[in-house]
Each structure stands twice: as structure tokens, then as C-alpha cells.
Amino acid sequence: MDFGSFLKAPEIKVKVITYRDIFQDKAMIENRFGDDYRDRSAVIKLDPADLKQLSVKKGDTVVLKNSFGTIVVRAEESGYEPSHRGIAYMPNSPWSNMLVSDETGGTGIPKFKDISATVTSAKGEKVTEIGF
């Protein structure tokens, strides 16, 4: 019996910062419904120590969740130094926008680059398809 399956998967809280990526932008222009755009957008870049805590390997999928939405994306190592535990990076896309709060304080400006979410292993679940 696999006792591990009864254990709650480790969960961490992260602040997600979004950014622009030229390869992802090009993929969007070529086909915003294509695999290349999805593969370059549905990604979260984490600190290696956070990956370890989640028991997740590079390239595995993870679940990002907050009160605005839930998405499954691929986890990668950020490659950034110094250590940035608790801070993660995602290219700006419809995937990151699924987690952006509607709270704007009446300014008309959502916090696109300041997203709070929890991360857990998606245990092999596939990346979220975007649609309405």
C-alpha cells in the first residue's frame, strides 16, 4: 500500500511576479492557441529550495491556487540568484491573469505583477487549457 498517497502534499505560499518574454511574445503572434504559446506561458519559475520543499522536479506540473482561480502549470527553476524563496516568476499571459485579483481600490489598475497564491504538486495533472 502506498501510504504516501494519504499524506497531504506539501504546500507553499508564493508571491508571483509576471514579466515579458520575447520568445513567448513571438509564439503568441504566430498562434495564440498553439502549443508553443501554451508551453511558454503556463510556466512558473521557482527557487530550487521551494521546488525541493514541494517534492516537485523541474518540468513537473504544479497547481497554483487563490480565491480568484486555480491553474495547473509547469514548474521550472528560475536560475536567478540570490535565493528568492517565496517569490516566483511567470510570463504575463491568460494563465497568470486567471489568478489576478479584481481588487483595484477603484484605480482601474489590477495588480498584474503582485499575485499571491499557493503552490502544490499537481501529481501529473495536465496544464490548464485556456478558454471561456
Binding site: 508571491k15 511576479i17 514579466y19 515579458r20 518574454d21 520575447i22 520568445f23 511574445d25 513571438k26 503572434i29 504566430e30 495564440r32 492557441f33 480568484f68 482561480g69 536567478y80 540568484e81 528568492h84 517569490i87 516568476y89 499571459s93 491568460p94 491573469n97 486567471m98 489576478v100 485579483s101 479584481d102 483595484t104 477603484g106 484605480t107 482601474g108 489598475i109 489590477p110 495588480k111 498584474f112 505583477k113 503582485d114 485556456i130 478558454g131 471561456f132
Partner: protein
């Protein structure tokens, strides 16, 4: 041999040195442009599409349906236009007036505040050509042009040997990045990369202002004062400095007061200009055209011959409060670019989408017309990120209508 150069409308830089090889109205090769520009100029392949309720229709049906939606709406939203020509934008302003519409563009949730402040003369400005020819100190703050405006550093801000900068980046230019992560641009800046924590920009500005006047710079996140003083000394020595303002900085500040204060402080000691890192090729044009007409750069509502303005007329607040009852979206994809928690309200109202390509928004629109790609398949004029006017002609011909032509037809149908 005289060469035929085209303008790339892939981003707010409007590079005007693009060479293209085309045959039978298909662009086969693009020279000089960046990765994004090449993809943009080779985008157009499809034939004209007119759709109502997901079914193909003829042009007249699509136009009359679009006109009916606008006519029946009490408060339609007209949104987008960042990838439209100045001529199209002026027509859209006229259409908004005629239909008592709420009119907004993406600048309401990105760089609109900065463009508004510079149109109100709150910053000293310069052109990208000035930067190429004269700039000795450039700051990329919350901006990563290596990804967002790929030719920025090579064409204007760092690598060129401008008329007064013949010794180039090796000797005569200093590029500085201030950011929360080591972006590709930050890597180029080497030791002049200043990494601050998320949301730490306002404090860094205060510390830098203190450093400029020789005081001890302090931050709650203990940024080494010595490094801030080192930065302040470089800035004080600038003969022609430029701050390129990106979204990272703008989103981090509650208002622009700290940035205005910093630019004033810099100009007490040196000579500093500001250029916003505008993304869409003619967002600045929209801001300027609307400013000329109404005194505001975005988020307006036309009503009984008057113009109301405020964040409540931005796309985000209008959708949140559900104050708009139809939407004409021109060259934009709010279902992709807005938070889903806000964008979902678009699904409750009839949407007209004018866009060269299929998007999440066009797929859920009641009326969809795939327009010509502005700058590739149709010509006009636009305003570069630095305010310079640029005229361009189409690279190839298409059977698809330009957004300008569609707006004219909708106005006639009204």
C-alpha cells in the same frame, strides 16, 4: 540603388529601417527587424472573415449587426486602438462621441499615467534619436527592453555610436537597470544592476534622492548605502541622462509623485529626460489624440456633449461595475489581457471584435471582423513611444478591410 524601407508596427519603437521580400502579397523574408517584428510582419495569411453569432456572414450583415449593437446600447464601451493608426483612433473618438460611449485603451492599466504626466509637462522629455546621439547615462527602471523592445539597446539606447557618442558603450555610455529580478537587460548592465525587493521602488527613489544631496541613503530593506551613493554619483555626472520607465516601476508606485520628485532632483544636479516604455505601437498616439480632444489620455465617457473622466470609466472599473452594456473592441484581446475575474463580465454583453487574428475575445464576440494588420496590410500614421510621428505605407495588399474602413462603414450604418 535606393532601398525601400518599411516601418515595423510590432511595438512602440516603430523601427523604420525594415527591408522585406514579398511575393503575391505574402511576406516571405523580413530583414533588420527583431524576433517579434519578423513574426508580426509575416502574420497575415488569412482571407476576410465576417462572423455573427459564430456563423459566417457577408460584410454588409456584419456591419449592420455591429451598428445595431452600438445603436441599442445605452453605454457602449469602445476599447483597444493601441495597434490602430492615428486616423483610426480619431475616427473612434468621433464614434464614441456619436454613440455616447465610454472610451478607453490599455494605457488605463499600464503606462497611461506616465504619458498623461509628460503631456502635462511634468517631465523633461527627449526623442530616441537624442538618446542615440547624446545619451551617456541610461536607466532601465522596471523595464526589460531586451524582451519587450528587442532593438531598443542596439538601435537607440546603448550600443550605437551616435553622432556625439562615437566611442560607444565601451567608453561613453553607462546603462543601469533597477529591477526586482535579473532580467536580460539587467545582465547587459552588469555591475550597474540594482536589485530591489518587489514593491521597494518608492523607498529606493527616496534613498536615491537622499544620496543625490549627499545624505545617507536608507531603506527598510537595508540596501547597501554605499551602492546607492555610487549610483547617485554616476547620475550626478550625467551630461544627457534618460530614465526609461517600465511597468515594473509604474505598478509599484501608488502615484507618480515619487518619480516626479526624483526627476526634479536629478535635474537639479544633472540633465535627465524620461521616456515611457510604451508597448503597443500606437498607444501613445491614442493618448495624445484623446488628450487633444478632451484633455484626458484615457477612461472617458461622452454624454450630452460633455466628457466625463475618471478611473470609473476605465475598462476594468466599467466591467467590474457592469456599467457598460455593449463593447466594440478594436485590435485588443481583453479576455486574455485582463484578470479573468474582471474579463468574464464581457461575456454578459454583446461584443464586436475587430482584430487581424483570432483571439479569446474574437471567439466569444457576437460580431467578428478580421481586419487588415495595421502597418503591414494597411498604412497610416502613428506616434512612437517618444512622441515622434511616423508615417507608414502597407507592405502588402489584402482583401481584408482596415479597422479604419470598418469604423467608417459602421458610422455610415449608424
Amino acid at each position: 540603388m535606393e532601398k525601400n524601407y518599411y516601418v515595423c508596427t510590432g511595438c512602440g519603437m516603430l523601427c523604420d529601417d525594415i527591408e522585406v521580400e514579398s511575393e503575391k502579397n505574402i511576406v516571405n523574408k523580413v530583414h533588420t527587424a527583431c524576433r517579434v517584428g519578423v513574426a508580426h510582419m509575416k502574420e497575415g495569411r488569412e482571407s476576410a472573415v465576417f462572423r455573427v453569432d459564430d456563423k459566417p456572414v457577408d460584410e454588409a450583415t456584419a456591419i449592420s449587426e455591429a451598428a445595431a449593437i452600438l445603436k441599442n446600447a445605452k453605454n457602449p464601451l469602445i476599447f483597444g486602438l493601441g495597434t490602430s493608426t492615428n486616423e483610426t483612433q480619431k475616427l473612434a473618438i468621433e464614434l464614441a462621441r456619436k454613440t455616447s460611449a465610454t472610451l478607453d485603451d490599455t494605457s488605463s492599466f499600464c503606462l497611461g499615467r506616465v504619458v498623461e504626466a509628460l503631456l502635462q509637462n511634468k517631465f523633461k522629455v527627449c526623442t530616441l534619436d537624442d538618446v542615440r546621439n547624446k545619451a551617456d547615462v541610461t536607466i532601465f527602471w522596471g523595464a526589460d527592453p531586451s524582451d519587450s523592445h528587442p532593438r531598443h539597446l542596439s538601435k537607440h539606447s546603448y550600443f550605437p555610436r551616435g553622432t556625439e557618442k562615437q566611442r560607444g558603450w565601451e567608453e561613453e555610455r553607462t546603462a543601469i537597470a533597477i529591477d526586482v529580478r535579473k532580467s536580460h537587460t539587467a545582465k547587459i548592465c552588469g555591475n550597474y544592476f540594482f536589485q530591489i525587493p518587489p514593491g521597494g521602488d518608492a523607498e529606493f527613489i527616496d534613498a536615491l534622492i537622499a544620496g543625490l544631496s549627499g545624505k545617507l541613503p536608507k531603506t527598510s530593506y537595508n540596501f547597501p548605502p554605499k551602492r546607492i551613493l555610487e549610483l547617485a554619483n554616476i547620475l550626478k555626472g550625467a551630461k544627457f541622462g534618460v530614465v526609461f520607465v517600465g511597468l515594473g516601476l509604474v505598478y509599484s508606485l501608488e502615484n507618480l509623485e515619487p518619480l516626479i520628485r526624483l526627476m526634479d532632483a536629478l535635474n537639479e544636479k544633472a540633465n535627465f529626460h524620461l521616456i515611457p516604455m510604451v508597448g503597443h505601437y500606437n498607444m501613445r498616439g491614442f493618448n495624445e489624440n484623446l488628450f487633444e480632444e478632451t484633455g484626458h489620455v484615457n477612461s472617458v465617457k461622452f454624454e450630452d456633449g460633455t466628457v466625463k473622466h475618471g478611473p470609473e470609466y476605465s475598462i476594468v472599473e466599467s466591467l467590474k461595475a457592469k456599467t457598460v452594456d455593449a463593447a466594440l473592441i478594436i485590435g485588443s484581446d481583453p479576455l486574455s489581457s485582463l484578470p479573468r475575474s474582471v474579463a468574464k463580465n464581457l461575456l454578459e454583453i454583446p461584443v464586436i471584435s475587430l482584430d487581424p487574428c483570432e483571439t479569446l475575445t474574437s471567439r466569444r464576440a457576437k460580431v467578428y471582423i478580421n481586419t487588415a494588420i495595421s502597418g503591414v496590410e494597411s498604412g497610416g500614421s502613428a506616434t512612437r513611444m517618444d512622441g515622434v510621428k511616423v508615417n507608414f505605407k502597407p507592405v502588402v495588399e489584402t482583401t481584408r478591410l482596415s479597422d479604419e474602413a470598418v469604423l467608417k462603414k459602421i458610422m455610415e450604418a449608424l
